[in-house]
Symmetry: C2
Subunit: 312 residues, 2 copies
């Protein structure tokens, strides 16, 4: 075995999945917030989780998202005896901006760095998806992929193996509000209809195609028009107080568009200009101040690199 | 009124709609075959259709696709007294490669040239959609848009107005086979299920996004992987004898992929190299020779300009 280092620090970014029309296929990484993770190879067998925060997340590896992802990875790297992970979470669990994906992605990127980078990014996505399964019961990759690749990613398909397409997007300012209400991913998935009208599906894939084209052609107006969701948003937005006020106010302030981040409750808005993103942040604060709900606002940009490895 | 010329000739291309995963939203224009149309402003009021072929198409303007499109256009240009159209069709009606769209698109592009180009391309698409309504009962634009714009087009949405996104595709060789069987567009639409499983819809919009990305990034392998249709093809391919043989044989010959053109019966295959496109043509001929069905094969490329206007 030749390991490049014995310990490593990883900054694992928050992510926005779905991106309005791209349910289960689109996502992007945020410059802020991010988790900080420290990984260390150990002589003690297995995976060891240490949480450096008060979120009360499980530390039993099979029930911890980082742990489950690392256990999957260790099955493919049987020469590794053990790995210890210390997690300092800044991405609040249940916020809808990829808290579990950051832990899972950061863990596998970190261990891969300790192993000299032997696994490919698609392989890392597959390992990390085991972490998402622990978090939500579904091995989805729409937060995992941007957390690992950075930027905006499209998941063409997840079977037989994840087929991930990085999309070279233009500069975008992102404003995120996390209202302090609970929306469980499993509940948010359960309320979705399992059959959709063909006409709505056509509208949706027209928008997905157009959003991809708008991103790749750096056509901001097209990005704005394509940020339309006729299938998921009408159902899920009911779970999020202030949704329509934030959306309408953000559009009025000049935002390109936006909607629910992942399965919520966070909402995100994309803007071409920083001043617009600031005005959107004000709209978000005003909305939740009036509703008397506590909230966090993040005004940030797209993280282009994904999980960042700092060798110690 | 200042008209740039009194008569005009238009070459109106055949088109492939749907493009496997992009049902109702994607299409591209073919370099061959194309219709030839001659338009003339007349003092005699209204629209006059002259068919220069034996296809027995209606000449009553409201029942003729070119006529219906021109009638819609004349409502927006009330100063025009009349227009005469002589149509020499080379695109066989019922072939599934946009025969009706070529007539409708060619007619409105021709009249627009006679009017000095006053209408925009999105407006022309709207007029031409009235022709498609005559042909199939549905005002769809997935053949019309590429016939007018050329190249590969994405229709983000058709309401409130057509939102058409031209996609700059890499060079592609196209092989088309038109087996001599009848598949009516109206029948092909009727057999589709009006509700689709959400999981299938997600797979489809992942593929649509990936196909757009593959085209814009000139990534041939990605184009190939994205040419997958889990919703329409499983239903419609049953109507087309030889479908699976052509598809499997073409893949074996090295084609990127392909499927049903529009609602069929024509099948198309895309190839990166001309030699592959020739091998695909052989697969198509062999398949229908064995089945004892007459057929036409077109080996061509993508038309980048759409309807071409030749002033007389």
């Amino acid at each position: 075995m030749s390991f490049s280092s014995n310990t490593v620090t990883v900054l694992a970014p928050a992510t926005v999945a779905n991106v309005v029309c791209g349910f289960d296929v689109l996502g992007f990484a945020l410059a802020e917030p991010h988790d900080e993770m420290h990984l260390r190879l150990t002589d003690e067998p297995g995976v060891h989780i240490l949480n450096d925060d008060d979120f009360g997340l499980p530390t039993v590896p099979a029930r911890n998202v980082a742990g489950a992802a690392l256990l999957a990875m260790l099955r493919a790297a049987p020469e590794v005896t053990g790995v210890e992970v210390r997690i300092r979470k800044h991405i609040r669990p249940g916020s809808g901006i990829g808290s579990s994906a950051a832990s899972a992605a950061g863990a596998v990127v970190g261990l891969n760095a300790l192993l000299g980078g032997r696994f490919s990014r698609p392989e890392l996505v597959e390992f990390a998806m085991y972490g998402e399964e622990v978090a939500s019961g579904v091995r989805h990759a729409d937060n995992i992929a941007p957390a690992i690749y950075g930027g905006v990613t499209l998941i063409r398909a997840t079977t037989p193996t994840p087929d991930i397409v990085p999309l070279d997007a233009p500069p975008l300012f992102v404003t995120v509000v996390h209202p302090q209400i609970e929306v469980k991913t499993s509940d948010a998935r359960r309320i979705l209809k399992q059959q959709v009208p063909l006409q709505d599906a056509i509208r949706q894939w027209g928008n997905v195609g157009a959003l991809v084209a708008g991103l790749l052609q750096h056509d901001y107006a097209l990005i704005g028009r394509a940020l339309e969701d006729v299938i998921i948003e009408p159902v899920r937005s009911i779970l999020i107080p202030g949704f329509q006020q934030v959306k309408d106010g953000s559009h009025a302030a000049g935002a390109l568009g936006g909607g629910i981040s992942g399965s919520g409750p966070s909402l995100f808005m994309l803007s071409q200009h920083e001043a617009t993103a600031q005005a959107v942040a004000d709209v978000m604060r005003d909305t939740y101040d009036r509703l008397g709900l506590a909230y966090y606002v993040y005004q940030t940009t797209i993280n282009k690199t994904g999980c960042q490895v700092l060798t110690n």
